[in-house]
């Protein structure tokens, strides 16, 4: 069975590792520890695809939040089937770094599905701004308001992206 590589990128401390660990291990920790390089998580999930439960294998690439040289990011994104860009709802400048990350994905992985995770929705309201709507429209991506802390919308985020990778019908997030 083919495994699918998904890269998860975003600024420092937005919750990339927490989202992945919530999805894969169903755990959460308040202790922040910066990711160095890449942490890989292998995960198998059963997803309803066109009405049938199917087993899918995923390799999730948790990539460090520091700005990386373009060449290094190119190596990390090589062969990825899809990407999740994570933003932090508590930050006033949330969309700008998300846009930069999305531009990078568009350049490196043209045509691959992309999802935006607006994380920490348990502690910050989701603003109804034109900026967020523009993100969705510009990159043809889907948006999920997530909380790694409570688990809200986290499995749905990864499953929706997986469905788009496989070409199945997406469930609503």
């Amino acid at each position: 069975m083919k495994a699918h590589k998904i890269i998860v990128i975003g600024d420092f401390g937005v919750g990339k590792t927490s989202l992945i660990r919530r999805y894969v291990l169903d755990v959460f920790s308040d202790q922040y520890r910066a990711t160095l390089g890449v942490h890989l998580y292998k995960h198998s999930d059963t997803i309803p695809i066109n009405g049938t439960e199917e087993l899918v294998k995923l390799v999730l690439w948790d990539i460090e939040g520091a700005p990386l040289p373009g060449e290094q990011m190119m190596r990390y994104s090589l062969g990825a089937s899809g990407a999740i860009v994570v933003g932090d709802l508590t930050r006033t400048d949330m969309t700008e770094p998300m846009q930069r990350a999305a531009d990078m994905i568009e350049a490196r992985l043209p045509g691959r599905p992309m999802g935006f995770a607006l994380n920490k929705c348990d502690i910050a309201p989701v603003p109804d701004t034109a900026e967020i709507a523009a993100l969705k429209d510009r990159y043809g991506a889907f948006i999920a308001c997530t909380s790694a802390k409570t688990g809200d919308a986290v499995p749905a985020l990864f499953r929706d992206l997986t469905l788009r990778i496989i070409g199945g019908k997406a469930e609503s997030v």
């Binding site: 910066a34 160095l36 390089g37 890989l40």
Partner: protein
Amino acid sequence: MSSVSSFDAHIILEGIRIVAVRVDEDLIVNEVVGDWCDIPVGEDVRDTVPALIGMEEELAQEVPYLQLPFVSLGMQHEQPVAISVQRDTGTGHLWILLRDVSEEASVQERLVHQHNSLAIAHKELSAARDAVLAADQAKTRFLANISHELRTPLNVVIGGASILRKPRKTPLSNEDVQAFSDDIHDCGVLLLQLVDDLIDLSRAETGNLTIYEEWCNPSAIITEIIRLARGLPEAQGVDILYQPNGSEPELFADPRRVKQILLNLLSNAVKVCGPGSRVFIETAIVENGDMTITVRDTGPGMSSEDLTIALEPFGQPNAETRSRGTGLGLAIVARLADLHQAEFNIVTAPGEGLSATTRFPSRRLSSLNG
């Protein structure tokens, strides 16, 4: 790898935390050189090195170029490895090299930690610097205000006294003398109040404002401050209404300071209300047993922006009342309430009057008969 045999490689890599893995075109492990980590021969290398998943096209290249400096399996162990792939140009074999980069990662982690600590320290220092700058600006504003507030009544005193003492051929009329004397007296009273307020505010800011608490009767205090307020010139024609219910508990507080709180609020209320308007003083025991004393007027009220200004020392958003107070009253009231562990709260809106409530905690209350 082009000129190194497998045998040579075994010798070179012995004791070094590097493993070289030779795979076939299906990425099945054919040979493992080095014993640092366990890579099973005969199995798909992607099962133990999942970083290679998705890299199949790159690995199939005649000269693959793949170097991943820091990769670790987050769910299994934290040990990071550097992965690089090379094809032996002589044999055409594909070699995957895995190198333990724990030490580099440890150094890098320390650097990141130090960088983060420095960033936090920088943020804290910036905040402290901003606070110092804000305090300095507040001090400058305060000095500018205090100069103005002192000079205005002093000018009236000096000007009035100069007119009175000036030798003249025709003496001033009795009415003029009375008017100048009144101005001098009123400005003297205002200056005294300003100095008293400044002393209180200064003591409150430095934590030296002391209260002398005793059991006191709120109704008696309110009745007294109403009598004092009715003597204010601005109170002429203003109806001050208070209906004691006779069952108010005693309050453990500094009666002089409670009077100061209520007189400040009441004098503010009568100043903004014109003749024919009404000001209410209401007491209540709320659901958790706390006692509230509210001074409510039917005056013009104020916006939330003006209220913020009014709560600042010397903040007087209403130009019409500016010359009639020190502008320190609400700032002092808030600090006096705080000294009694009381909450001070103002509810107002333009055109809807103003309601100022001081809420004393229940632990400060006792039955009158108790």
